[in-house]
Symmetry: none
Subunit: 195 residues, 4 copies
């Protein structure tokens, strides 16, 4: 008589583990975030998420009370990821006026990362449509301004942040982002303006 072989770790990797709430939740959230990046927050559906996460449909509502909550959590997670990019920029904030090239490397890394760029775009566009998402949409810009304002003044900091939002949209709409030199000259121009 046959009996089921004991499950090994390898089995579980394929068909998501029978009991792993944390992992399930993470899988769902990850799938949702990916879909937001790829198709925008408005296109999220339970079915698409479940399929992407290789999880039964019912699981998506088990872990998130509604599609809105799920969308919000996905955007939240993307915002957290962007925060990491911002953290990488922080050490160079102090000397951005004299040595913008160093901050530039971090900025380019961001603009060259399609996932980061589309995540940011998804956050911004969600904010324009859904007022509840505004704080999330503004978080990165506001934090960047705060970070820079101490060193270059609030006016210049805002100008730089606005320009970078434009550069992000540009990257999302082109195959390649703006070039290093182009960015550098623009940044210098904004840093030279009276505050």
């Amino acid at each position: 008589m046959m009996h089921d072989a004991p499950r090994t770790g390898a089995d579980r990797a394929l068909a998501p583990r029978r009991r792993d709430p944390e992992g399930r939740r993470r899988a769902i959230l990850t799938a949702a975030s990916e879909l937001v990046v790829e198709q925008g927050a408005a296109a999220l559906t339970h079915r698409a998420i479940a399929a992407r996460a290789r999880v039964p449909l019912g699981s998506t509502t088990q872990y998130f009370a509604s599609i809105d909550e799920l969308r919000e959590a996905a955007l939240q997670q993307l915002a957290d990821e962007i925060d990491a990019s911002l953290a990488a920029l922080e050490p160079h904030a102090a000397e951005i006026a004299r040595h913008p090239e160093r901050a530039l490397d971090e900025i380019l890394e961001f603009l060259n990362d399609p996932r980061a760029v589309h995540a940011d775009v998804a956050l911004m566009t969600s904010g324009t449509t859904d007022p509840r998402m505004r704080p999330l949409a503004l978080r990165w810009t506001d934090r960047l301004i705060d970070m820079l304002a101490a060193h270059i003044g609030r006016g210049r900091a805002t100008a730089v942040a606005v320009y970078l939002d434009g550069a992000t949209m540009h990257a999302a709409l082109h195959d390649a982002p703006l070039g290093r030199d182009e960015l550098l000259r623009a940044l210098r121009g904004l840093l030279d303006m009276p505050d």
Copy 2:
């Protein structure tokens, strides 16, 4: 026996008269554009459009083969409207280097017009999600660059356009757009950069 009085132009504005294919098509398109501006391109439905246009449901599929085509046409129309804003800017393009204040009035008018701002955001958003919409999304930026490049060089023109895209997103995410002085200083900074 009563008979219908001949409809006048004024009537038409309310409920497009029968047997006026052009007018009806325009009414549908106008309604669709408004909905895109108000709720984003993803939220378009035949029913909402028909209700807004005060037109029978069947008309929407009569004049446009699919909801995608309708969405595309609505975005097209919004792009055309934005082109008009751009046309207003054109006379001041030549002297933007020396007298950016004059162009500024047109820019502020655009940024203070929520409809224009949200139309632009809808175009950009669509472009980041749907490749077919990219040319439409890029049209305004590209035209602006072309317009300015002749006078201030392509590098500076691009920087200004990128900054203005950022300013548009900013306006869409805040209750009030950037202030006149703020914009002016930033523009001057970008115009002063080496091309």
Copy 3:
């Protein structure tokens, strides 16, 4: 090459006519009313109604905006049917004090009609659960009281109505309703009470 034979009236009787909004609506409402009678208002589902009415699922929401609206319409229709029973009683209201037997025939007809009895029960129980249904649930009792009050006084009329509600519940819970004599003696007892 084959072509579809033109539909005849007979065809349409089987598979509900292609285009007959009135009939469709009526078929859905009838099916819903039957289900309410058979299973109670709480058990209504779109699927059950569509299956009973031999109509595609989507039709049920085309004609009624929500399941609540559909339930309400079904109860409304049942209430209207009960009103007809009441109308049959009306001619005998004036002489109920001296000749209760005549009214009794109408009452027994009602109590012996399972559909009418269960419809009334469904109305009453809906009223106890859903406040919006209360007016509907009370309509028949209130009308009966008004009808009788003019002739036998409001106190006696209320007592008779209350007793008949009890008799209706009794009929719904037994295979056979109360007997003619039983009813007659009880009615006489209540008619003899001081008002």
Copy 4:
């Protein structure tokens, strides 16, 4: 190292302590009964019961094989509670013919207790819909009839019971039950009828 203090009876009232199968079963049943009273038997769900009883979801299926069994048990319990009301009436049954006022106090107490009234309605409703519930729905009426029949005859007893069912429905559908005098006159009328 801390250890849990032994639970006292007071604790139990809040969250039934572990390893108290009887108490837990009772808590679940009580919660279910309350929900039946408040929302009707059709609205019962495992989740709602578990939340109300402050008990893990799994417990509800542990102690009751299915939601139907749970619903049945809840109705059973409500029927038992009503029996208690009936027991209070019993001492006055013998003299109801000469002194109906004394029985009246008990009846009014019942009619003024929304929980009792709605419990009774829930029982009756279930009985009209689900044949298995009929015996439960009829228990109280039958017992009342038995109780009174010995003293006033079966015909009068039935008439009184039917009237009181009607009075119960009346109470469930109005903010205030029938008045004392109204009830008294009606009872006297029915007691005076020939058996």
